[in-house]
Amino acid sequence: MATAEIPYQETVPLHHPKTWLGKYVFSQDHKVIAVQYGITAMAVGLVALVLSWLMRIQLAFPGLLEGFGPDEYLSAITMHGMIMVIYLLTAFLLGAFGNFCVPLMCGARDMVFPFVNMLSYWVYLISVILLLVVYPLMLFTDVAPTGAGWTLYPPQTITAGTPGADWGIVLMLASLAIFIVAFTMGGLNYITTILQARTRGMTLMRMPLTVWGIFIATFLGLIAFPALFVSAVMMLLDRLIGTSFFMPAIVSLGQKLEYSGGQPLLFQHLFWFFGHPEVYIVALPAFGVVSDLISVHARKNIFGYRMMVWAIVAIGILSLIVWAHHMYVAGMHPYFGFFFATTTLIIAVPTAIKVYNWTLTLWRANIKLTVPMLFALSFVLTFIMGGITGLFLGNVIIDIPLSDTYFVVAHFHMVMGVSPILAIFGGIYHWYPKLTGRMLNDTVGKIHFYFTFIGTYVIYFPMHYLGFVGVPRRYYETALGGTFPDFYPPSAHYLNIFITIAALVVGIAQLLFIYNLVHSYFKGEKASDNPWGANSLEWRTPQTPPSHGNWDERLPTVHRWAYDFGVPGHDTDHVPQDVPRKESA
């Protein structure tokens, strides 16, 4: 067995375009594609952010927004949820971080199939356009965005009592199907690159955890998105040509529909067979990024690297068999509760190990409180908070009173709406110098951090208590004025107002971040090749920002893992991965 096999990439010529268009728009360079993904994802993210303001304003000050009735509210939560989960988080973590980090951290010249990689972005853009086109359409036609909730449960998704049940839903499903195509093209690239195109010496057990997280997340995506794809196709057929896959005989608003015999629960199973892995698709890359940030900025090796890797793998595997914990109250087979509660709580063990290891990495470290580190620390705290509330919900009997209340809303915002977002922010502050050659402004970064961390925490933490009181989610109005009996104390309404104000403040604070990104791009302090003193390969490129092809004629050779910080007997506190062993001894 020859281990010194020469990777193909050194023999394969890269596509070097001559024109501006080919270089920056239809580029096949993974770094440019990463930026394209990132900017697009942030732009749609802002749309979702604005929608969340509208929702919050309605909840705190009912009736303040003219023309924001129940239809608009439901459309807003649906678009908000879907954009945030799929078009922002999945696209950002895998499309942007995946593209940027995988080849650089593996020591590859580019993705294995740069052309397919480029297509992936453009198809993603099409799906985004198809998703958002309802808003301009709304002005000129009576097409409305769908208000089915991001879970899209039939039959209501395609029956008349739901806004957008005629064409809004069709656009949404079509956009999702196209997104899946885009994801598949990108995902195949990431996986193949990680498996087949690492540089010499880069064994899997030396890969930075970021790459591990992206790797397992992508794999999960490739086998989970098919379930969404299939259910989207079947629902489209139900909607457009009148098949009855998910539709039993129903009488919708006085009208007998032509459907008969379908099974609504089937959709829920398919959706969550995708949906639960999906939440880990957005969590695992964030885990990886945070592991790297903590280790680098605490100047200490990550604690228990092997356990960290196996935990990621275990979470990936287990996440495929816990899906029905979202369906405890869905009326599924009653005995499934035992199975899914058990698997769900088992998955908490590897996750807990990760949390312990992040914390233990801080122990006897030498912690630099840089902006990326602040975000990483806050990630750990919000993730613990969100994770333990997941344990409440996972324990089937506790989910019974809490399901479909604000407790669930609080859980998933803690664990998905802020933890991965914090990881993304941390990652951007961390890699921006390599990407652009300039540092982001530290002070602005810190202000942004405090607003975002404390702000989101005070938004979501109290929501758990609304859930205990019994405030249901997806309610246009939770306090129905004097005519309906109030089922929760008026004090809860003040809580709602508080949450809304916090949400507005936090949202506006994001302008600081955008300002920082733009301003520093032109005026920021020049970054050195390795400003943080990190070990992984992306900091060892000959140029900053790395040129197309990333490396010189020779690819780097890896001699160690990415976490050699504070190795005894060394004059520096870090030893990069491509420093040979004997020199280091």
Partner: protein, 236 residues
């Protein structure tokens, strides 16, 4: 340079572990394109299985009767041909067309396997011929499928949303699953023809012709899916 099978003196587990913990490439001796195709096929397996699981679920849940496919898809052998009388009356044979389609698809897999073999022998002419033959068989298959669809729609009045014999989902799943498979076959035909053309033009002369094997993987997968559709939809 690399062996393609694990050395005999190693247990499967050590062999697997060694490959996974090795340098540069995990799947030794597997070109990038082939690795990518395999992973894509895993993803595609999930698509088809989700379709089939949905089919199972709905078929088990509906209470409307499920038509007997072997009757629905029976083909009557005509009692006369070109004016010559063969039988007293026409004879319905269950699933006849499906059986022929199955044999056609299997044969196309056979020719594809030969094409791969020719590829590794660097026999370009053989590759092109066999791939074109495969594509032709694939087209035959799609053609027969179109015939079957039209027969079902016109003669038996089955549509995706209705079925005079019982559960409407019979038609829905039939058209959806075979339609999806048919799309795969059609895409495969196009893929085969493009690759055959490029092989003929000498596009891959500097490589080892693994592109033929990659195309073959896809094509065999399409055949594989048909095995399941045949058993689970037509025979069950």
């Amino acid at each position: 340079m690399t062996e393609t099978t694990a050395p005999g003196n190693e247990s499967i587990f050590t062999a697997t572990a060694r490959d996974w913990s090795s340098d540069v490439t995990t799947f030794k001796g597997v070109p990038w394109g082939k690795a990518m195709m395999w992973i894509f096929l895993v993803s595609d397996t999930f698509i088809f299985t989700c379709f089939l699981v949905s089919y199972m679920t709905v078929r088990m849940t509906v209470t409307d009767p499920w038509p007997n496919p072997s009757e629905v898809f029976a083909l009557a052998i005509p009692n006369e041909l070109f004016g010559l009388q063969f039988f007293e009356s026409s004879i319905p044979v269950p699933l006849l067309l499906i059986a022929i389609m199955t044999f056609v698809l299997i044969s196309s897999s056979g020719t594809m396997a030969m094409a791969v073999n020719m590829g590794y022998q660097r026999n370009k002419k053989g590759v092109v011929l066999l791939m074109v033959a495969t594509a032709l068989l694939g087209m035959t298959f799609v053609g027969m499928q179109i015939f079957e669809w039209s027969k079902l729609i016109i003669d038996e009045e089955v549509a995706a949303w209705q079925n005079p014999m019982g559960a409407a989902q019979f038609g829905s799943f039939f058209f959806m699953v075979t339609g999806f498979h048919g799309l795969h076959v059609s895409a495969g035909v196009a893929y085969l023809l493009i690759v055959a053309w490029r092989v003929g033009r000498g596009h891959y002369d500097h490589t080892n012709f693994e592109i033929v094997e990659i195309t073959g993987l896809y094509w065999h997968f399409v055949d594989l899916v048909w095995v399941f559709i045949f058993a689970l939809f037509y025979l069950w």
